[in-house]
């Protein structure tokens, strides 16, 4: 439809814009209307104005105090990811100490056990990463890109004893609802190990917690968040072990 056709029935269009601002159109209607909004400044302005009303709706609900466990779990996950995301090199000593102190505090709580487990396994690999180059590194292998989407990916797997760090570059961008998942292949079975997302430049460093002893390869797939017990897509990368 042209702009004039959209605006021919302006009352109806304005009603649609209100439903759109509220998130009450179905997916195809939303997509159709967005095509027009993208090209129409007056409709964009109208949506902005309606959104200012929608933005007030959350404040109308009964205000509650979130449980402390929510903040603790969130920050534990975020700090672990901040460190694995390649900032390890620039994180300062006192912060790292704090991070471990927080972790120690968390471990006292059974409710947070799951998170602690994840943080710990990531933390172990990060510990290796922080140790710096060379030391205790048993080997560096190239990972093979699988399939055309991964053609330009370059990746290496850095082994440290019984865990490893995967370095990837120029990985295909993920959709909003996806993560990359790291798997360890052992006797034909894929075991989930960790997940990661890309930096803005398409690179990432992912922890591959052990055990790696007796395993055949490390693989990477793209998965719907938050990742599951089994891969749902074809692997993009494979790094042989052993």
């Amino acid at each position: 439809m042209t702009r004039a056709e959209w605006h021919a029935d302006s009352e109806r269009l304005y009603d649609d814009l209100a439903a759109y601002a509220l998130g009450a159109l179905d997916a195809s209607e939303t997509a159709e209307l967005e095509c027009h909004i993208d090209e129409c400044e007056s409709c964009r302005e109208r949506v902005r104005s309606l959104r200012s009303a929608v933005d007030l709706l959350p404040a109308s609900v009964e205000q509650r105090t979130p449980p402390a466990s929510l903040r603790e779990n969130l920050l534990a996950t975020v700090r672990a990811e901040a460190t694995t995301a390649g900032d390890a090199a620039v994180r300062r000593e006192p912060e790292r100490a704090l991070w471990w102190q927080r972790l120690a505090g968390l471990m006292a709580r059974p409710a947070a056990a799951m998170t602690v487990l994840i943080v710990l396994t990531v933390g172990v690999a990060v510990g290796y990463l922080l140790r710096g180059s060379g030391e205790e590194t048993k080997g560096l292998v190239s990972a093979m890109p699988l399939g055309p989407q991964a053609a330009q990916v370059s990746a290496t797997l850095e082994r440290h004893g019984d865990s490893a760090t995967l370095h990837v570059n120029e990985m295909p961008k993920l959709d909003r609802d996806e993560v990359y998942a790291v798997w360890v292949k052992r006797a034909g079975v894929l075991e989930p190990r960790s997940t990661f997302v890309l930096g803005m430049d398409g690179s990432a460093e992912a922890a591959v917690p052990g055990p790696l002893e007796g395993a055949d390869a490390v693989l990477v797939t793209a998965e719907p968040r938050p990742g599951g017990p089994q891969p749902t897509t074809q692997p993009l990368l494979e790094a042989p072990l052993g």
Binding site: L75, V78, A82
Partner: protein
Amino acid sequence: MNPTLTPEALQRLADEDLMTLVERKDADAFAVLYDRHGGAAYSLAHRIVGDPEVAEDVTQEAFLSVWRSGARFDATRGSVRSWTLGIVRNRAIDALRRAASSAPKLDLDDDAVLDTKPGEQLTDSEAIRRETSLRVRGALGELPAEQSEVIGLAYFGGFTHSEIADMLGMPLGTVKGRMRLGLEKIRATLAERMGAKRSSEVLP
């Protein structure tokens, strides 16, 4: 990185500046954002899913998504707060739909904008948050029930306009018209009172 930023300095940053740090994976900046908006986010999730544990999961998922996809925040399209609460709302509606497919339980008479409860012991910022909430609720309470009903079903219930039309036995056009009238009224009466951004703008 900003190795020189103290916690006090982070507290003074605007949300948009904190987001820039969050995009660079600054966990301390993220903690400040959570402390500013986590309460509102959890309250919204709780309102939508009606269960404290699911609300906690939903809020956690939403904030992790902010952390992991901060680069997708676009300051020209709205505030960090409304972007974050939009993510919370979407995740909560998803959770609601998953739950509804096994055990539907949605009370149509549950009027989102009118339920009130006295607070217990509150910190200062929580007290302000609750006071704001009461003011917004008061203003929304002035809406004709037919308008707040369709707005509540869409925003808190996650229903599309055609589902609402079916539910209430009304033509589609009527449902959308009520949404528009209600939103325009909220904008007109509340945006000014709350000192919200862009409140002085006039519709084209």
